[in-house]
Subunit: 363 residues, 4 copies
């Protein structure tokens, strides 16, 4: 199921960067969910390039809902959103078909699809394909919110600069985070990151980073042992993004150097409710949500499109070749990936929620 994800709430993704449209179908969702188009536009605007140094491609994201919504609510039938690709300069990309860009999918696509792939703009591998995920995400996030489930995302790290922990900030800061164009808790660090991104763009280079996600209000019991673990399902969804190269839950890789006595999450009673005293496990035990906030972090590699000369090969002549990329690209996607990760998380949670509570559960 290459482009379809989910067990009950299924998302199917389609479209190529320079084709007529990108889009998605979501199926199996409760009928009667409100579709707030203002929120959809707002979410899409957060994914759009806007900061200095980001791609000059103007993506208006004039989405169209072509099925599954009637009188402003989901109908229970598949919901389809299409977004036209307007600002395309395909000429930019012709060279990459024979001289693949390092660390992009150009080379594997040429080989796997025997040259038939639409290579323009990265084709179906383009980050452009995440736009409909974000549009769908806005509907799911609103529905989950009504069930008391909120998802927060911030840029946690970039070039050794580290943002504050969620726990150090009041709820008001968290709420603001999801409306920010550059979602970061510590303003000063945010300024420094943006400065560095701008500078890096001028150098024709790019940056990676770490994004942190927190899912609050999740009821106990989502996820199943073994192959539908909450960690596994979130991971499979999130590794769909080509730039993601790592994921960790709770203490993650820091567990490697810890002792059990230091990181076990003991239990306590709080207001008649069982709580964990700490949350080293990131809200998940045995693959199942335990009622504490789910926390995970995602490693994002530097955008492979850089403007410095790089070593590549000519697939026709079978000779080494130096590649110089022109065009318009982001020096880092850590800002624009935030609403995508929020939406992806919402998708996985909505699926597990309806699996657990039934087909009308999100209504």
């Amino acid at each position: 199921m290459s482009n379809t994800i989910g067990e009950k709430v299924l998302l199917t993704l389609f479209g190529e960067s320079h084709g007529p449209y990108v889009g998605a179908v979501i199926d199996g969702l409760s009928s009667g969910l409100e579709v707030n188009e203002e929120e959809m536009k707002r979410m899409l605007s957060l994914r759009r390039p806007s900061n200095k140094g980001e791609t000059k491609r103007v993506e208006e994201d004039e989405y169209e809902i072509i099925s599954g919504v009637y009188n402003g609510h989901t109908t229970g039938a598949p919901l389809t959103i299409i977004i036209p690709n307007k600002s395309v300069k395909s000429g930019d990309y012709d060279q990459f078909k024979k001289t693949p860009r390092p660390s992009h999918a150009d080379y594997v696509a040429e080989m796997k699809y025997a040259g038939y792939q639409d290579h323009r703009g990265g084709g179906h591998f383009s980050g452009r394909v995440t736009a409909p995920i974000v549009a769908m995400g806005s509907i799911l996030l609103e529905a989950l919110k009504k069930k008391g489930i909120e998802i927060y995302v911030h840029i946690k790290k970039c070039a050794y600069m580290i943002d504050d922990e969620f726990a150090l900030h009041p709820q008001v800061d968290l709420d603001e985070l999801n409306t920010k164009n550059f979602p970061i808790l510590n303003k000063e660090i945010g300024e420094n990151m943006r400065d560095l991104m701008e500078k890096t763009a001028e150098e024709g280079d790019s940056l990676g980073g770490v994004i942190e996600v927190m899912i609050k209000g999740l009821p106990l019991g989502l996820g199943e042992p073994w192959f539908s673990s909450l960690e596994g399902k979130l991971s499979n969804a999130i590794f769909s993004i080509g730039a993601v190269k790592g994921i960790e839950f709770g203490d993650g890789f820091d567990f490697a150097d810890a002792k059990g006595s230091e990181v076990n999450d003991g239990y306590m009673m709080e207001d008649g409710k069982v709580r964990t005293i700490t949350n080293h496990n990131g809200g998940i035990n045995g693959g199942i949500s335990n009622g504490e906030p789910v926390i995970y972090r995602v490693a994002v590699k530097p955008t492979p499109s850089i403007y410095k000369p790089q070593r590549s090969v000519n697939l026709e002549t079978k000779e080494d070749e130096t590649l110089e990329i022109k065009g318009r690209h982001d020096p880092a996607i850590i800002r624009r990936i935030c609403p995508v990760l929020r939406s992806m998380s919402a998708l996985v949670i909505a699926d597990l929620y309806e699996m657990r509570y039934g087909e009308d559960a999100l209504r």
Copy 2:
């Protein structure tokens, strides 16, 4: 599909730690694969407790193949292996039903299954359930080997001690790795780790670590864009193990502090073949294998079963309670998890291989 994984080659897992058997069914596998029972026993022995300080539970793993093998080869019908649970002391576990062990699945299981779960020995959440995965893995690993695909695993890190890189060792060391009871490249570091594990066991505490996996000889083209990415499929498989809390491919979380110009994998011609000059992406671009070795690392948390007093709650009286665990447990599973990760990787690769090359491809 909680306990079933795969698209064409499907594994279904069953069994509880103190039930009569644990086992697995593998379906959709090519007929005509050799079933080497010596290799199966060898693989199972690597998963068994044996080192000092590990659980005293003697697991003989007297597996029985009850379907799908005829005349020493797979038949094409579902292959089922069952392994009896012999050395069980269920009395040890009765207290955990009402006083859950921190960082275990006890509490979520009690709530999710409304008290009906078999809680003894962790029930279906027990690491014991990985034994049939390893038995199945031995068949898959042999079949993949015949196609030139080899999977190597070592303990990469534990308590700030770091093993050598794969690349620094000759092939002979790699080959030896998969036969080692304590798979590590650097013998001295290995000794230190074992000493620490023993000492930690004596203290009643436990350790985490990082395991590194390399898949060599993988052809280009395994994995699909978006929701069947090679990273996503491996992750979903591997997060099935409750102790796993993170995974990273290639440079993984180190990408966060890098520039594109430092970590892009340029291409070169080598013996008429396209190769990447470096392998920061761990053999995967756009979710698809690129022909280079696939490299990933897995974060393993310290075994939650420790013998120091811990804070918990009494689910019946709804009061805080101090828990002292007795019984037999590993101070670290980083040794025993290695053949499991090798087997899990083989499972994902076998599935993708048959999806790409057809139903008889592994014969």
Copy 3:
């Protein structure tokens, strides 16, 4: 997976009768398949109303391929086709929301989706949604043809009139069948059926029928024992059409009155090849194609939309009510369903073909 079908080649269906578009996404298909738009238009024209007495709704089927095709070939990425709904008269349908039409999905939809469904024109349950299946089918049928697999469909029965058997006609008649607007082998019977359909339309009534499908040239080995049987997969696909209420393979229900000695398909050698002497099993043994033509028949109920007064209830007042349907409807869909069944069959076969022979097998 309500609106998605397939294991490797997946079709996802979307759209509502009076929404902006109906459409489909096909994913997992080989790259490099030719997309013959003339053939697509021809196939769509066969599904369109045109005969006397059929619905007056003019459906131009001005489809648009919005992803997955580049330079006239499939790219390997999801292929999406959308077809705008132009000739819609939604006012006709408002009464059916509170007074459901007998034997339609109106009532179950109102209850299942809690009134949120798009009820206009039958919404997502409308036969209109089969248009994109036919468009997709044209691509698959062309690809299968190149592999020697041909699918033939005719109206087998209607109101006690029975068409000839496939075996009594030469290949030239079969080839012609797939180009016919009213696909029937015996011209005289065809005339009689059309006369009856016209007459029945004038009476405001409707007719059912039986459609017969033959798949020739199918290699041995498609289908799997138990839950991926060729019969089961074809059935699940074909029962998606609400008007289908039965399916039988080979002798089907006639087996009930037969003895084994009369209907067993013995084997013989023919030109060095194993063949069955008869084909009572319709080309399938144990759920797997045996190399003989696959033959099955589908029972289609009379179109529920009739113009005679019918008993219904008012869902608001909870009182009995007489319903008189106005609008435009087919007196029988047995003609228009033929290209749909051809396309559905192609979809199932393409999926099984790529599962068996690998991801590029249809190229």
Copy 4:
């Protein structure tokens, strides 16, 4: 998913006729369901050969539940049942590997699995594999009964003899049906059928038939439009049985000769509830249960194992050959298939029930 079926409640089937065990795993089922072993034994006894003229193979069905049940209830973890194959005479079958039995799976299995299949007793294609389905079915049927859902099955037709309609008999007769060794409503017709079966067995021949199933008390709303229709899901499950060659819902193939005005199911109010006046559609509209009894019929072919000489071929010498089957076989499976169809129906309904109402819905 060849041997696994379901979306939430998944059944995985394994075992070969003459291997050590046949068995099944059921996963995703509510925890806390009672496991009534008396009922399980009773159901298994109904599937066993016992009537005169049936196979002499004594199958004791000494099943063992090896996972997923604790204290007499389902645990929520995979439930596995294994049944040893005790009375096996494999020598009987060796000839069929090179001289395939007509209308059996011998030939396709030999070709598809390249000779590696376990051919003894039909291997994985054997009806023997249905025993664990019946064992599982007993648990599901009990759970559904507590939700008011009852499934009734009778032999509807054999050799032109037709049993009474469900509607003509009082509830007491229906209840008795599920306890009968030869489930038929009209005793006289039952006697005649049994006589004919005995006589046919003596002649070394076999018989087919039609089985009818009624599911009462099903709530409205099970099944989804298009590819998860109630008809499609039941069909896919039931065509897993190799002897099944047709299925029809409600009026089924009789619709072919009817007019809409004769077979539309009008609505009426009854005790404040919406009911259909007739039930030509067999309780399903648009693929979704409408609250009326679901009724379907299944065409079963004569058992292919007959004792008369038959034409076959020698796959080694590639020459025609006459085959004479010895051994022990049923002259008709229409009796023994009844508990299997009841169990299969329960499986499909349980899956749809939990998809609609949530993971604990059957508790």
